[in-house]
Amino acid sequence: MSDELDVKHEDLMEEEEDTQLGKYLTFKIGEEEYGFGIRFVTEIIGIQRVTEVPDVPVYIKGVINLRGKVIPVVDVRLRFGMLEREYDERTCIIVVNLDNSVVGLIVDSVSEVINIPDNDIEHPPQVNKGKGSQYIEGLGKVEQEVKILLDIQRLLYDEEIEKAAGSASAE
């Protein structure tokens, strides 16, 4: 019971963008569908040339030119610890804005924007193995399918601190 209350509480706190609440952008990585709150999404673009940057974590592929702005891009597959996949015409970059930090997320393909009422969202299973699981915010039930809903903050920033301390990048 308290789990559901937790989820609800979080939603309440994000009520400022309540028109977008409950709406998720879903995308595909491999066979599974993932999603996160649409309120973070600024735009979606096709994959383009990425310029490598030295000495960054492996999942940061580099930077791209977005209409004159230079933004970093993260390969979500690599972030999940999955194998890299060659980019094709369906590969997209989802540009998100989190606290004024703009980052692009490279995904296999983008699906749709759907409404998922809170009732249909389950708390992530507690038994977690593997790196990717820490980014899961919840599991959304949509008709016959399950979408893995992600915590953007964690997706972008978790472990960053450790990494920064470890590498020479924190100059």
Binding site: T51, E52, P54, V63, N65, G68, V102, A168, S169, E171
Partner: protein, 830 residues
Amino acid sequence: MSYDIGQDDEQREILLGFIEEGREMIDEAEPLIIELEQSAENEGELDLEMINTVFRLFHSLKGGAGFLDLTTISGLTHEAETLLDMFRKGEGQLQSHHIDLMNRSCDFLRSLLDQIETEYHDHGKEEEAAEIKEEIRLAIEVLKSGGDTAPAKETEAPPAAKVKSASEADQQPEPAEETSAVEAPMSLEDFQLTISPEMVATFVNEGSEQLEKAEEALLGLEKQPDDSEQIQQAFRAFHSFKGNSGFLGYGDMEKLSHGAESVLDLFREGQLEPTSKVINHILEIIDFLRSTLIGVGNGKSANIPATPGLLHLLEDYTGTTLVKPKKQAEPTPSTEPESVEEVAIVEPEPEAEPPVVQQEKPAPKSVAKPTSSAKPTKDSAGADDTKKASTQQRQSVRVDVEKLDVLLDLVGELVISEAMVAQNPDLKDVDIPMDRFEKAVMQLDKITRDLQDISMSIRMTPLSGTFRRMVRLVRDLSQKAGKKVDLKIIGEETEVDKTVIEQITDPLVHIIRNAIDHGLETPDDRVAAGKGPTGSLTLEAKYVGGEVWINIVDDGRGLNKERILNKAIERGLLDKDPSEYRDDEIWQIIFLPGFSTAEKVTDVSGRGVGMDVVRRNIENIRGKIDIRSTPGGGSVFTLRIPLTLAIIDGMIFRVGNDRYTLSITTIRESLQVTPNMITQTMDGQEIIRVRENLFPVIRLHELLDINRKSRPPLTEGIIMIVEDEGRVICLFVDELLGQQQIVIKGLSEYIGNHPCISGCTILGDGDISLILDVAGTISFAEQISPSLQVTVDVETLQEGQKDKSGSKGGNGKKSADDQPAEVVEAKKED
């Protein structure tokens, strides 16, 4: 005010406008006030125009405040204005404590403005204001009743004078008791004429406390001669006592406490042993002071006939005359500020000051120079617009900084877009002649460039404002530190970007503090070291290459290498053997957090938090700090700040599939090498010989650990010889792609910082090019491969710095010019 002014937007705007103007005015006034002091002391004559300017500034401030019903401000500025008026009309001698009053007023006004900014009113500080006003009125009275001659001659209180109401402008015969009354039209309201009994009472009370403290400290000192805390305490007590007596015109008491203070200063500097004998003399003085104090409290005279005698006794110790016949008629009313220019402690030669001030430099602004040419407005070698910046004549428009930022961003984007059009890859495919198009593009290019120049210059402000603020700081600091400092300001008209100004103020303050507190020696020390008693501090700004250099030069004792190294060792800050540190590296140690070699903590400096913050601030504006120092000769701190923060001339080159950019100011030369120029050491380090120099080669992709399929031989590409501060390396690149103006963009914080990369830019075809930071790259390369020997070039090193070549470790190759040539000769034979 019956309504809440904060609610009214329009009123708020007006208030904020007033605040801004007010701050500017105070900024303008302060350095002038200080100059007035010096000019008065040195020449005995006041620069009329300067006084007028200050007067006008206060007057305007008063007017504005009055209009906005800011009574505290208008009241205070009114008093100040009145005082200034007297000097303006030649009705009084400007003395140091008047300057102090003005300074205090300025400080207080600033704090009022701060308050108004947030609270929209200036109430709540009436008491403080009243205090200052009181003192100003007092000063005015003193002047009116006899000008500069010491009131100590008569009874302590200046003679009663009748007050005239505001409007009266003509002379009134004041029933002055003895001295010639210099009449002045007084336009003051409810003015207290004599030194009020309350003031005397306060003085007596405080005074006895101070004397007690001093006595206690001295007794303690006698038991523990090396207790510096006691010395400090006694010093402070006498210092305050001296100040207070001076204000009230109790000349003898002031002199005596000054004498005591001087002796204590000698204790402080370790020049004199606190023996019982000396301490006894000082205690005697305390006794005299005490009894006189009581007498004053009972309405008796503050004269102490024994003063000369007592002072003479002290002279045995100070070795100089404390009883000095002042050349100007200001024996006593001057309080502590003397220490800057004519401290009685040292051989009094106020005439010596001006010659100590520089002569040769053509256009430097010497703040100490008393002549009329030292007027702030005329001195700038720059054009009229800089004059405008500092005079009242200013045609300007107030613009919201945010709007400016947006404007500049847009201009930056425009530059990129323009490049994207002019260099569009699609154009290559066009077959038809493109003459008209190219002409049009050239025109567009030119206009864009002009727009860019102008918009950059909009944000540029001269450093004069910042430098001027330092004048006051130097004065206060040098007094506190008991040192004589002659401040020179050169190149204040140099302009830098607004953000730079904001960021360098703190670092400047820190460095100047250090220079005065630790770098410059006391007059005695200096004389002992064969230097003039007045230390010199120079603030200089100039353009060098693509940078603004701000030099802070002092001729003090310089940085102490041993002390720095030892402290660093103590704190575990060294990461290699001490003997392996070059001089310039040793100086840089002082920027490490937690470092400080000061033995005494004087205010803030000495606590080890200053310098690392300094460096960080400078790095925030992508600048650097260089230090040069010679023991006994002084130090030079150079702040090097890139001139245009965002747009540089870049050279674009290709390595593999990636394109990089470098600032062309770092490129010495580019060439293609032939096999005979190449040498390879046993570790695989490639070295190129160019004429008589040997340079290590860096393959960029390897350095940055970016994958690359092939490793072409050096002969199949271009070698770029780049340098930073005398450190030179060769970069091996595949192709040079051309030069263009680029807009520097930061890499997102998400990416973090790489020492070799200082940002990125978007090229004409939309691709991103990383910008290489040459300095960072060289350092990084040295770090990565310790066997790398970076050439330290003799010619480019500035004079004074020891040339230690970068040769370390085993390979036995030196990078000096002579030897290696032979080595290479031996190798090559073709």
